[in-house]
Symmetry: C2
Subunit: 215 residues, 2 copies
C-alpha cells in the first residue's frame, strides 16, 4: 500500500514538473512573440494552451485516484491536496502566458511595446522562464533551499514591475495612454506568473517541512 | 457515517457561504472607499482581509477533517475537493477587494478615478457585490439555475470592462497616463473578482450535476 502510494505520488510529481516546463516554454515563446512581433509564435502559444489545461485535468484525476484508492491521512493527505493546488497554480501560469501571446497577436503587425520598455519585458520574461524551470526542479528535488531561492527571483520581478510604472509616469513617456494600458496589463501578467511560481515553491516547502512558509 | 458526513459537509458549505458574504462586503466597502475617497473605510477593508484568510484556513482544515475521518470516495470525494477550490477562489476575491482598498489609500486624499469613469466603477462594484451574494446563496441552495445565472452578470462586467478601455483610448481622455494606469489595474481587479465568482458557481454546478460546465 505504502509503496504503491509512493510510486503514484512520484508519478504525479513528475507530471507536475513537466507541466511547469510546459508553462515555462509557453512564457518564453510568448515573450519572444511580444518582443519580436512574431505572429506564428503567438499563435502557437495560444493553440497549445489547451495542452496545459489537459495536463492539469490529468494531474487532478491522478490525485483523485490517490485519494480514493489509498485514502491517505495526515501528512500524506496534505501532500496530495497540495499537488491539486500546484496543478491549479501551474494552469494559471499557462493562462498568463496565453494572455501575453494574445496581446502580441492583437496588435500585430504593430509592436505592443514601445522600445524603451522592451528591455524590461525581456528581463521579466527571462525571470519568468527561470522561475518556471526552478519550480520544475524544486518539484522533482523537493529541495527546500532551492524552493526558498525563488523568492529572490520574485523580488527581482517586483522591482522590474515597479520600475515600469516609474517609466510610464515620467514626463518623458511619449507613447500615450494606449501603450501605457498595454504595458500595465502585460506587466501584471508577468508579475502574477512569478507569484504563482512562488506559491508552488511554498507548497513544496510545506510538503517537505509540514509547515506553510508565512512570508 | 453517512449522516456525519452530510452534517459536516453542510457546516462546511455554511462556512463558505458566509465567506462569500464577507468578500462581498469587503468589495462593497472598497468600492465606496474608492468612489468617496474614504480613507477609514479603505483601512477597514485592509485590516479585515486577514479574517478572510483565516476563514479560508478554517474551511480548508474542515475539508481535511472530512477527508481524513470519512475517507469519502467518488462523488463525495469530488465534492470535498471542490470545497477546497471554492475556499481558494473566495480568498482570492478578498485579495482583489484588498487591492482596490489599497489603491484608494495610496492616492488619498486625492481621488483615484477621474470623474468620467466613476459611474463605470460604481456599476462594476454593484455587479461584484451582487455576484458575491449570489455565490453565497448558490452555495446554500445548490440551485443550478441560479449558478448559471451568474454568467450573465459576469458578461455585464466584461462589457463594462471593455467600455473602460474605449473611454481611455478616446481622444477626449484628458487625465493622462497615471490615471489610465490606475483605471487599467482597478478594472482588472473587478473583472477578476467576477471571474472567481463564476468559477465558484461552476464548482457548485459540478457538485450538483457531476459535470463541470465547459463554457
Amino acid at each position: 500500500m505504502r509503496e504503491a502510494y509512493q510510486e503514484q505520488l512520484g508519478k504525479l510529481a513528475e507530471e507536475l514538473a513537466s507541466m511547469s516546463t510546459m508553462v515555462g516554454t509557453a512564457m518564453e515563446r510568448a515573450t519572444s512573440a511580444l518582443l519580436e512581433t512574431d505572429l506564428s509564435l503567438a499563435e502557437q502559444v495560444i493553440d497549445e494552451d489547451s495542452q496545459v489545461d489537459e495536463a492539469r485535468a490529468r494531474a487532478e484525476e491522478h490525485a483523485f485516484g490517490l485519494l480514493a484508492l489509498q485514502a491517505p491521512v495526515a501528512g500524506d493527505l496534505r501532500t496530495v491536496i497540495a499537488t491539486i493546488h500546484v496543478a491549479e497554480d501551474l494552469e494559471r501560469m499557462g493562462d498568463l502566458a496565453l494572455h501575453v501571446a494574445k496581446a502580441a497577436r492583437r496588435r500585430h503587425p504593430n509592436a505592443v511595446l514601445p522600445t524603451d520598455v522592451q528591455a524590461y519585458f525581456a528581463e521579466m520574461g527571462r525571470i519568468a522562464v527561470r522561475l518556471a524551470h526552478s519550480v520544475s526542479s524544486v518539484i522533482r528535488s523537493q529541495d527546500v533551499e532551492t524552493a526558498r531561492g525563488l523568492e529572490e527571483a520574485d523580488d527581482e520581478m517586483d522591482d522590474l514591475h515597479r520600475h515600469l510604472f516609474t517609466v510610464m509616469m515620467s514626463p518623458e513617456w511619449g507613447h500615450g495612454v494606449a501603450a501605457a494600458v498595454d504595458v500595465t496589463l502585460l506587466g501584471r501578467f508577468y508579475e502574477r506568473f512569478a507569484d504563482h511560481a512562488v506559491a508552488v515553491a511554498r507548497r513544496v516547502e510545506f510538503i517537505v517541512t509540514g509547515k506553510m512558509p508565512t512570508t
